[in-house]
Subunit: 260 residues, 2 copies
């Protein structure tokens, strides 16, 4: 999983970073593309009509642009009548799995991705780009640290029943590398005191690992080995963004609490 | 269902209206009580530990007080690591139904109820009380209109497969009575032009009926006749508040769009 993730990162990173630096509408377009692909995976996996899944995910993203956090919340709330429309009109969608897919698209996919847009939408453009990179690339740093620390020192399993390959040593390695990378940059770009910068690094890594674990549990719940199997030869996008779905809100609220 | 609802309304209305008029902390306390009871019902019905359900519902409510809509959204987002904590730590909670219960508590129960607090939290106290009453008592008016119009004129079923007793005539009666009651009051208390007031009445009734239908579908999905059966002799609170869970966000966003 980690090695595959590094490979994809090398291909996708330039596109993602380019859109982030270009900002505004490019970020929204990229988020909607990701939402579209995630909808495809969840809709297939949980047998929900594709437009139902995409609408639930896109509503919070589209409303975030004019209305900020209030728009994201309104989008999540609109997801309930939206779900009603599909469940009432499409009896084949009237299942527990379809209902869960709709709620996951709004709360777990659309709303967190909408935070990526808000993070970048700062009056200070450099600050915005830096913050989005923390949310997007923080998990890559955390995963790298965890991978190498796990290979070198990994002895004690972290959650043996959920994720047999993860070790406590790897988890700590992820936290250490993320903090080592993020803290000096936060100090430089945001003028944060070092201890706050270090705290941000720790939080980003912990939250990134939590996002990964959340997706593992979800796949297990749904009885799916890999949500991305829908397209042969391609990994799932949800596997790629699982950490981002947790780091994006975390970075947004940390920033809002400490810096505005 | 309607007759039982009228009976309960007569008992609960004075308490609810009293808390609304007293305002602020009383509304929050009432919302948390309702959340606690709703958690009990959903946790029993979907076999989730009770504190897990209550926490997911209470987070958006508690964060709404200092942080408004941003706090509600942050509460819903925090529901994901909260869900992870319970799903990781309590293998017996690691089911589709428990996961759905957690998401419903945050998105369908906690977040909409938190909007009730925000609706009442206006600088103009009379306006706040009036708006909360529209969200809370609007469904009672709509149900009454639907009940009597249904008994008198009901011929054509509205959703025969979902709710055999509901008729198109009843639904229209609900819309007419709600508009007739709300429009003059909105004109009087908020100084809204009559057509906007009428629109508000129509939306409140439609949304109220949608909330009722949403709960019907949900119960059917979960294979439950009555979520409230958990306590013998008592009806379920979710049956009581199903419409409010849709009218509260609707009233909040209508008000925000048209009047602020």
């Amino acid at each position: 999983v980690l090695r595959r993730r590094f490979g994809t990162a090398a291909v996708l990173a330039p596109i993602v970073v380019g859109a982030i630096v270009a900002g505004g509408p490019w970020v929204v377009a990229l988020i909607l593309l990701v939402t579209a692909r995630a909808s495809y995976e969840l809709a297939r996996a949980l047998t929900l009509p594709y437009p139902a899944a995409f609408g639930a995910g896109a509503l919070p993203v589209l409303l975030a642009v004019p209305f900020g956090t209030t728009g994201i919340l309104a989008g999540v709330m609109l997801g309930l009548p939206w779900a009603l429309f599909w469940l009432a009109g499409y009896p084949e969608a009237r299942t527990l799995r379809a209902m869960l897919a709709l709620m996951l698209m709004a709360t777990w996919v659309g709303a967190p991705l909408a935070h990526v847009y808000l993070i970048g939408d700062q009056t200070n453009a450099v600050e915005g780009v830096y913050l989005v990179l923390v949310a997007v690339a923080g998990p890559w740093v955390s995963d790298s640290g965890a991978y190498f620390a796990g290979v070198l020192f990994g002895r004690h399993p972290l959650f043996p029943s959920l994720s047999p390959k993860k070790t406590i040593e790897g988890s700590i390695g992820g936290i250490v590398l993320t903090t080592a990378v993020i803290a000096p940059l936060a100090n430089l770009f945001l003028g944060l005191p070092l201890w706050t910068s270090a705290l941000a690094g720790v939080v980003v890594s912990v939250v990134s690992q939590a996002g990964d674990l959340f997706e593992s549990i979800l796949k297990r719940l749904l009885g799916l080995k890999d949500l991305g199997r829908a397209l042969p030869g391609h990994g799932g996008i949800l596997d790629r963004i699982d950490s981002l779905l947790f780091t994006a809100p975390a970075v947004y609220y940390l920033y809002t609490l400490f810096l505005t």
